[in-house]
Symmetry: C2
Subunit: 346 residues, 2 copies
């Protein structure tokens, strides 16, 4: 039952690969016409909570774009839901949490037990997808990082500044740490259960970590990312993606994580210089650059691989794919990685 | 007619100061009750285009918060307006440009002449404010950077990704450079006219430069920032603020600008290490941190000054002040700089 294409896992382990593996953050959904058809029939949480639909959506980019890994279709806000919070999702408008966390009582009321069962639909989607993939490519599980989830749980919605979330942390740091620890505990259970259900590796998305100063990142984000990496890396390789927090890359590269996501605010060369050789880097194509003409995309992808090198590297975007990217442009990105011919096995 | 408080100008020239000067980006407006009263009576562009109102708003933080400089109340989008574009501003919703730049024809149609006259109301506001200030503190003029203005002129409104603006640059780079050059030419005229009308120094806001990769910043942002710095620094000291573009600080610190704005994604120490000794650094307090308790604000301000040092330094926020900051917190920020007692004249 070994994987036919295990490039991603070998790259994460630091083993030699013939070429870098490639996948795209948010590859399942948004820009794919077959996904848009499903979106017209089923609302967001029906798609997330119905294993057959989540599985179908997860497989679409594997079949249609040719990526080297599947990432389970789900959402980072299933954790606040499992902890007892109401999460609404309006198409094209982003999430809304009508009741936010404000007080000790609010934190005490959050559930932290029985995560595997509360999020059983994710586990079922993973098992089903693992079966349907039939060992073609690895399956990636994921969760939101504690700081990013705190942002939504306190702010109640997206924000340009997340100043309510920060105000909570700056004025009530003890409550903030209690909340971050609760989210961390739940996330560790959740990611371990995902591995048990079939995930070959897991990624932790700290989408809003770049809003924090280096000092605040060390206080409110880093300790919890490291706890998760330490606890889960015994079960499967962990990829950390602290978007915008270039300043944290040197320290995170020395953690128990196997991979580190890089956004496009760094050149590949800067990212290599900042990080320990023992970690695999993943990234970092500007998602907007997939709107360039196809020959330009291919040229830029090859430049990116030149910069990172072919080993200990996973080709990816620097953040999620945009909804307005034509499918053939996404495919050109993937093809460009596969066609990269300057392969040097270290 | 010399200034009673010229700390800002001396810091920009690299002269010794008794303590660092302090002002706050977007200090005129938003969080000030007296501004909010005016906002209820006059719409946005009436406030911008009426010299008496712009002057009154500009003076409010000098009188009420005690900053060491006034910055003229205006908006970066007066440049697209002067170039012939329609700009609407809905309170709390951000700007809207109903007709965007798409084609060669659109660019050819933009005005680039007679800027001083087209934006005469800004010049009148500056002259009046200069007079009313009565040499108490320096007066700062400003403009948006060409890349940031292109973002609005092509995208038509704010955006999380500015992917339409980027698509324009990536698919039609020749048009993009024509547009950027036109904006640059107008901005140089505009800033020189501001100095003639009374501005003692000018700041160029590249609010969206951090959306660009280092390579794209060098292509679409940096050359135009440098042109402006070179052309205007003969008239008055220029401060460049490339928000989010930490990667560009080493090169920009060697430019003809006198000051460089720093956001809070760097520690003061990192900023000093990255930049040439011959430039004055300005920043970099996280605006959300003004929502902390006052003793915490003061402690953090002193830590920030410890990091930057007292010379070749202008205390400021890392971006604009937030609308929900209590006035006494803004005042605590300013007071903390004035109270900093570890003064070491270099």
């Amino acid at each position: 039952m070994s994987l036919k294409n295990d490039l991603l896992l070998r790259a994460l382990k630091g083993e030699n690969v013939e070429r870098p593996p490639v996948w795209m953050m948010r590859q399942a959904g948004r820009y794919l016409p077959d996904y848009i058809k499903l979106r017209e029939k089923y609302d967001f949480f029906t798609r997330v909570e119905t294993p057959e639909l989540a599985c179908e959506i997860t497989l679409q980019p594997v079949d249609q774009v040719g990526v080297d890994a599947a990432i389970i279709f789900s959402d980072i806000l299933v954790i606040p839901q499992a902890m007892g919070m109401k999460v609404l999702m309006e198409e094209g408008k982003g999430p809304l949490l009508p009741t936010t966390v404000k007080t000790q009582q609010d934190i005490d009321n959050l559930f932290t037990d029985d995560v595997e069962n509360r999020l059983g639909y994710v586990m079922n989607a993973l098992s089903l997808t693992k079966k349907e993939l039939n060992n073609r490519v690895p399956l990636i599980g994921f969760a939101g990082a504690p700081w990013t989830l705190l942002c939504y749980m306190v702010e109640g919605k997206g924000s340009k500044t997340f100043d309510k979330a920060k105000q909570f942390c700056f004025t009530q740091p003890e409550l903030a740490h209690q909340l971050l620890q609760k989210i961390t505990d739940v996330t560790i259970q959740y990611l371990k259960a995902q591995v048990k259900a079939g995930a070959d590796t897991v990624q932790v998305f700290d989408s809003w970590s770049g809003m924090l100063s280096p000092a605040d990142f060390k206080t409110f984000a880093q300790p919890y990312l490291l706890q998760i990496a330490d606890a889960v890396s015994t079960d499967a390789p962990v990829i950390l993606f602290p978007k915008g927090s270039w300043y944290a890359l040197p320290e995170l590269s020395k953690s128990s994580a196997s991979g580190l996501g890089i956004d496009w605010s760094l050149t590949p060369k800067m990212a290599r210089e900042m990080t320990d050789n023992s970690i695999t880097l993943q990234g970092n194509f500007d998602p907007s650059k997939l709107l360039s003409p196809i020959p330009e995309i291919k040229k830029e992808v090859h430049k990116m691989i030149d910069g990172f090198g072919t080993q200990r590297y996973i080709a990816n975007l620097g953040h999620g794919i945009l909804p307005n990217v034509p499918v053939d442009h996404a495919k050109a990105f993937v093809d460009a990685v596969k066609e990269y011919n300057n392969v040097t096995v270290a």
